[in-house]
């Protein structure tokens, strides 16, 4: 009798699981109370825009009873990995925060919902610059809302420049000269790059240098994607890394392999006097003793002014059961005043009208330069390009560890990008 009872309970348990799974599906389609899953990097426990995001989530729930926002926070690499894993299981969040360069990858994988119609019908569509929609689009279809748009600039210590009696560099030659004058090793160096194997910010810095030689990362030629640069142009870039590290010795020797989480604190600690960086340094400036003397300028160029127009995009998973609710929520969150509110510390709003709000007009250092350099902004190619970006850091490391000359690294980089395009993109 006891055995039969136990057996019955086991079977009921299994049946219960099956029923619960079915019920969950049913409630989602019946328009019952909705929980929107939001995946992003905005941690309220850290300085930045996390608290502001959570405040807005609570406000939205209050305005829309029955809708709850569940905020899931992770770092960028985890965010990307988790989204891929979820996508393979045909699952995904209702809103995901993405780097612009992820969009083509995720679209190729079939994980993002096409939200072209609701976006084009949105009254605020025209308030976003076309360049930001371009990053959120693949083959003319829109896959997200551009939430943050920021260029990269030269962030420098004005007090150290005054002390050394030098002016802000405009060209690569000026940059090298300034970096040499600002170096008093081992306590202080003029400049530093990211060159980590994790390849998060390093490839973006590299791309700015490559664009500055007049090159592109890739171009479409006779219907095929090919490298948009020559070996000579890539060599110029690798040569700059080599010269600043070895010829000029104006970069910390231990900076080889640094990622952003080492570069930014090094600047904050005064170990380096100039960096190529973004608007989030504003948050660090508030914390640093020397923050008032942090200034910004257009990043020095080789042949043409260039910078990385970094656009962050908020997408909706193709597998979300609440796509309409997610789009409505994003339209509310990225309305003018709300966007200003959630980008007030580390980020810059993508909407043109947000940038004209009094909040930003009163911030000349962290607004003016970034807006002035937008016209020189380039974005990452709108094709899956992540694996090729890793090649940039392989090349930089080869040069900085003297395992390859700048010429050899440039040749390898060109061949690597060409092979990648042929085997993965043009296939």
């Amino acid at each position: 009798m006891r055995k039969a009872l136990f057996l019955g309970l086991s079977l009921m348990l299994i049946a219960g699981f099956a029923f619960a799974a079915g019920q969950q599906e049913k409630s989602a389609t019946a328009g019952q109370p909705v929980t929107l899953q939001v995946w992003n990097v905005f941690d309220p426990a850290l300085p930045g825009d996390g608290k502001e995001h959570e405040q807005k989530y609570a406000e939205y729930s209050k305005l829309h009873p029955g809708i709850t926002i569940q905020h899931n926070i992770m770092q960028y690499d985890q965010l990307k990995q988790k989204f891929i894993v979820a996508g393979q299981a045909q699952e995904g969040p209702d809103e995901i925060h993405m780097l612009g360069e992820w969009v083509p990858d995720f679209v190729s994988m079939g994980f993002l919902a096409d939200i072209t119609s609701p976006m084009k019908a949105w009254g605020d569509y025209g308030k976003f610059p076309e360049s930001t929609w371009k990053v959120a689009s693949v083959n003319g279809q829109i896959y997200g809302v551009p939430s943050i748009a920021s260029t990269r600039v030269l962030v420098y210590r004005d007090d150290l420049f005054s002390k050394a009696g030098i002016s802000v560099p405009k060209t690569w030659t000026d940059l090298r000269n300034a970096a040499k004058k600002l170096t008093s090793a081992p306590a202080q160096y003029g400049f530093a790059f990211c060159s980590s194997s994790k390849a998060v910010r390093g490839p973006q810095e590299f791309a700015v240098l490559l664009w500055s030689t007049g090159a592109e990362l890739v171009k479409l030629e006779n219907g095929k994607w090919v490298p948009g640069f020559s070996v000579a142009q890539a060599k110029e870039v690798f040569q700059l890394y080599y010269d600043m590290m070895f010829t000029d010795q104006s970069m910390p020797p231990d900076s080889i392999g640094w990622e952003w989480d080492q570069l930014d604190p090094a600047f904050q600690a005064g170990q380096v006097a100039m960096v190529q960086n973004g608007s989030w340094m504003r948050g660090r400036a508030d914390q640093a003793d020397t923050g008032k003397s942090w200034k910004t300028a257009a990043f020095p160029y080789d042949k043409v002014p260039a910078t990385y127009l970094e656009v962050k995009v908020e997408g909706v998973s193709k597998f979300s059961k609440h796509q309409q609710e997610a789009v409505d929520f994003m339209k509310w969150l990225y309305s003018r005043d709300n966007m200003v509110f959630v980008t007030q510390f580390d980020n810059l709003p993508s909407r043109s009208d947000s940038k004209d709000s009094p909040f930003w007009k009163n911030d000349p250092v962290w607004r003016g330069t970034f807006l002035d350099t937008v016209s020189a902004g380039h974005s990452m190619p709108s094709i899956p390009f992540g694996p090729a970006l890793k090649l940039t850091m392989d090349g930089v490391q080869q040069v900085l560890y003297k395992k390859a000359s700048p010429d050899q690294a440039a040749q390898d980089f060109f061949t690597g990008v060409k092979n990648y395009l042929d085997t993965s993109v043009n296939k």
């Binding site: 136990f6 990307k80 990858d105 194997s197 392999g257 490391q397 395992k403 296939k427």
Partner: protein, 294 residues
């Protein structure tokens, strides 16, 4: 009687059904799925296009992968180096905790256990910060105690220093597990054996060799084998500290696999690596455990 046994057996299997379904869902399905992936050319950038390629992924890995040799070598150095040092330090600290020199044993054990109790990710990120050149705590400490020559060493960026540094962090994090386990093992050795040996004139080294080591042999075999598996398949420590770099100097099989899967999206190839890793561990771990447990 025969019918009764048969009836009992059927209901016995039924009791296992929920557990079997759970294991099948959590272990068996992913395992079979990985094998299937490894036999196909699966790239997430080309969804829907998954041609069967047989053993081509394995052939590419074994005969065409330029980084295979250095990655396997790094994995072996990281695994064996970690387990050897973890065992030595774990045993030494367990002996110390078991001795009469240490008072407040429970508090001491809790303190020793701290590095192991901190989540791996937090541990690694803290070490990454501590090891930062110039402004990191380690440099500040070295400066303060007079080791000026070592200040500004690129602990995680120097090709010669990076593997020892990563090993150090992993050993620091893991040895407390050995300490606690071996302390428990030492407690099971009867005190009388030591007293009798002492009466017979056996010195400390002889007592250690003939009583202590045989007494903790079984528990040692278990933790060594577990840690060989855990360290060989460990991803977090190296990924968070160095990402497998610089120049693949700390690239181990799990970080390389991750690169293939989540940077190149070459899932078929990554799955082939995972299957090979499983085969290598399956073939080596059983005999190793038997040998250690002899």
């Amino acid at each position: 009687m025969e019918g009764g046994v048969k009836k009992g057996t059927v209901s016995g299997y039924a009791y296992f059904l929920p557990l079997f379904l759970f294991i099948a869902a959590v272990y068996l399905y992913p395992f079979l799925s990985a094998i299937s992936l490894s036999l196909h050319d699966v790239n997430y950038l080309r969804p829907g296009n998954r041609p069967f390629v047989g053993l081509a992924n394995f052939g590419r890995l074994l005969f065409k992968e330029p980084l295979l040799g250095s990655t396997v070598r790094n994995s072996l150095v990281f695994t064996l180096g970690s387990v050897v040092f973890e065992y030595i330090i774990g045993l030494a600290s367990a002996l110390l905790l078991n001795s009469t020199f240490i008072r407040m044993k429970n508090l001491s054990k809790a303190l020793v256990l701290l590095p192991w109790a901190v989540p791996i990710a937090i541990n690694s990120l803290i070490w990454r910060f501590l090891l930062s050149g110039g402004y990191g705590f380690i440099d500040q400490l070295l400066n303060a105690v007079g080791f000026h020559a070592l200040v500004n060493e690129n602990w995680l960026g120097d090709l010669a220093l990076v593997m020892p540094t990563v090993l150090f962090v992993n050993v620091w994090r893991s040895f407390p597990f050995y300490t606690i386990t071996l302390t428990a093992g030492l407690a099971t050795i009867p005190r009388e054996l030591y007293e009798a040996a002492e009466v017979d004139g056996a010195g400390w080294t002889r007592r250690f060799r003939t009583i202590t080591l045989p007494g903790i042999r079984h528990v040692s075999a278990v933790i060594v084998v577990f840690h060989l598996i855990w360290t060989f398949t460990n991803f977090d420590v190296i990924y968070l500290l160095t990402g497998g770099g610089p120049l693949h100097a700390t690239e181990v099989i799990p970080t390389f696999l991750y690169q293939q899967a989540f940077v190149n999206f070459d899932m078929g190839y990554a799955a082939a690596m995972g299957v090979l890793l499983f085969l290598v561990l399956s073939i080596t771990v059983g005999p190793l455990y038997s040998w250690l447990n002899k």
